[in-house]
Amino acid sequence: MTRILLKNKLDDCIAAWRSAGFSVLAPVRRSDLSRFDEVERSADMALDLVLTERTIKDHFFPQTEPLVKYRIKKHDIDSQEMLPPDRKRVFFGVRPCDASGLAIDDPLFGWDYRDEYWFKRRDNAVIVTIACTASDDFCMCTSVNLAPDSTKGSDVILRPLQNGNGWLVEALSDRGNALLEPIASILQEGSESPAPSASVPVRFDVEKVMEWLADPASFESHFWKDISVRCIGCGSCTFLCPTCHCFDIQDEGDTYTGIRRKNWDSCSFPMFTMHTSGHNPRNTQSTRWRQRIMHKFNYYRGKFGVNSCSGCGRCTRQCPVDMGITETLQAITNLPK
């Protein structure tokens, strides 16, 4: 016997969590864009999407966020940290790739110092993931050793029932268990079987890719120029990525008062590596694309023991010129030995 959440109990469930002090965020389609946003009722949710266009990363590492308010005085500086508020949030209906993305980024934000802006949000969030029963042509989780029902980064996993009426509920962490308490009376006991997971083909050989990238000779390979020739150098793939985490620090204000902000930045942009001298060590798009792939499948794993890709496929799905990680890694897989 396992616990089941029925779809027709979803409104009770949201109400119970809200009364317990949680904000509930779920996939929604608003202003012609699918993303995670706060919901008050199940009718607001767009749970039938394979994947939202935006990732949940946005709610932990926003595109722009204030860090410090400052005022420069004659012999002193006043500064005030602007940490995010303590707010308990449930993310309901997350896909396994997006949940994995958070777990992939945790070591990065906690490595040389603890980024409170990230962890304050992480520690107050409960991730309720729904395993995928559908996928599209761009999904590639199985190629990066994840799966449509991966539990990485999730606190609760819901497995859709075969009959489509609800989900099998499994708590995966203390936070997940605690989240099920307010809805204990809403859940039912049942023995229904789960629907089969989405079938996502393996699109490249990640082991071979990692081996090739780790070979110093690959760095100067002509491959990079050939594969990236049509890249237009926008930041779409990096900004839609559930694991890309690069940022820039900017001060906004006048000479004496202002706000220091943390803004997303992208290795696709020439400005990303431009030196004050005017020298740019990555002065072509091919060197920038190489950096993106190397970072994800070579450097990141060297430092944190995991690849910085959870296989969501957004980089290709939304690329203006139909490029992306899949094509590049397929091409590396197919390189002659």
Binding site: T64, F138, R230, C234, L240, W264, P320, D322, T326
Partner: protein
């Protein structure tokens, strides 16, 4: 012989005779309904070229890739009427020499690619005239008119909502053949002229700067709109600017290679007293 076979064979011929060093066209994409830009350098590679109703990207963007045309050699490129207008503007703005281009012109009608006669930019004058006669983006008329007729406050709310989605990935800029500045104003950072933050103010700044720089230059290829990963209806802004320029100055962007840029020209007999 269909248009695809005809153009492949001609492209292969141009490459083998050395008449062009490169063909910029379309090839198979990652799904059956996608076509992606392809750069063909040998006759054998020409077999990868495809041409059908899914070939929508305006490939003129790639012509200003750094160094591509600076050796004086010729390049062939697949272009729809919007792309042909882009070439006219880029030539008028002294960004390229259209004599270096062999144009495989095509149009999409009822989902099918149809050939356009001619290979030189001057051959397509009647095509551009026909485009002007057909009116500005008829497919946008409904939504454009709805926005015209709501109150200024409602319109502001609409754009605030849309721009709030912007993440400043600059896909709209990078895909646009008219955005060829080697260093965009938003990247000028000593000092930082435009906020890099993608908050409401920063997003308005960027989107308005972009729209103004495209007034009288946008050819409505829709590349920005299609590329926007957060679905901002950028074509509606461009359309409004094109309409303004057409109504005020009887100016249709990209008519010829010597058409004077509308915002960089004046006439001594201009009725506005502030000009002279």
């Amino acid at each position: 012989m269909g248009i695809q076979e005809q153009y492949i064979s001609e492209a292969a011929g141009l490459l083998s005779s050395g008449a062009v060093k490169l063909v910029i066209g379309y090839s198979e994409g990652s799904t059956t309904d996608r076509r992606r830009p392809v750069f063909v350098r040998t006759p054998a590679e020409a077999e990868r070229l495809m041409l059908d109703g899914a070939c929508v990207a305006n490939l003129s963007t790639y012509l200003l890739s750094e160094g591509l045309l600076s050796d004086g050699k010729s390049v062939a490129v697949f272009l729809k009427p919007d792309g042909i207008r882009s070439i006219n503007i880029l030539a008028a703005e002294a960004q390229l020499n259209p004599e270096q281009l062999v144009i495989f012109g095509f149009d999409i009608q009822n989902g099918q690619a149809r050939p356009l006669q001619g290979r030189k930019i001057s051959d397509f004058t009647p095509i551009v005239e026909a485009a002007r006669a057909a009116g500005l983006s008829p497919e946008l008329q409904g939504e454009a008119e709805r926005l015209e007729h709501i109150s200024a406050a409602e319109r502001f709310e609409y754009w605030k909502e849309q721009f709030s989605k912007c993440i400043k990935c600059y896909a709209c800029r990078q895909v646009c053949p008219m955005c060829y500045c080697r260093r965009c104003i938003v990247d000028v950072n000593q000092p930082q002229w435009v906020n890099t933050s993608s908050h409401t103010l920063g997003n308005f700044e960027w989107n308005i700067v972009r729209a103004f720089h495209l007034a009288g230059r946008c050819v409505a290829c829709g590349g920005c709109d299609r590329s926007c990963p957060v679905n901002i209806p950028l074509r509606l802004i461009n359309h409004r600017m094109a309409k303004e320029v057409l109504d005020a100055f009887d100016y249709y962007a990209g008519e010829s290679t010597d058409q004077k840029p509308v915002l960089a020209t004046f006439r001594p007999d201009d009725p506005e007293t502030f000009i002279l």
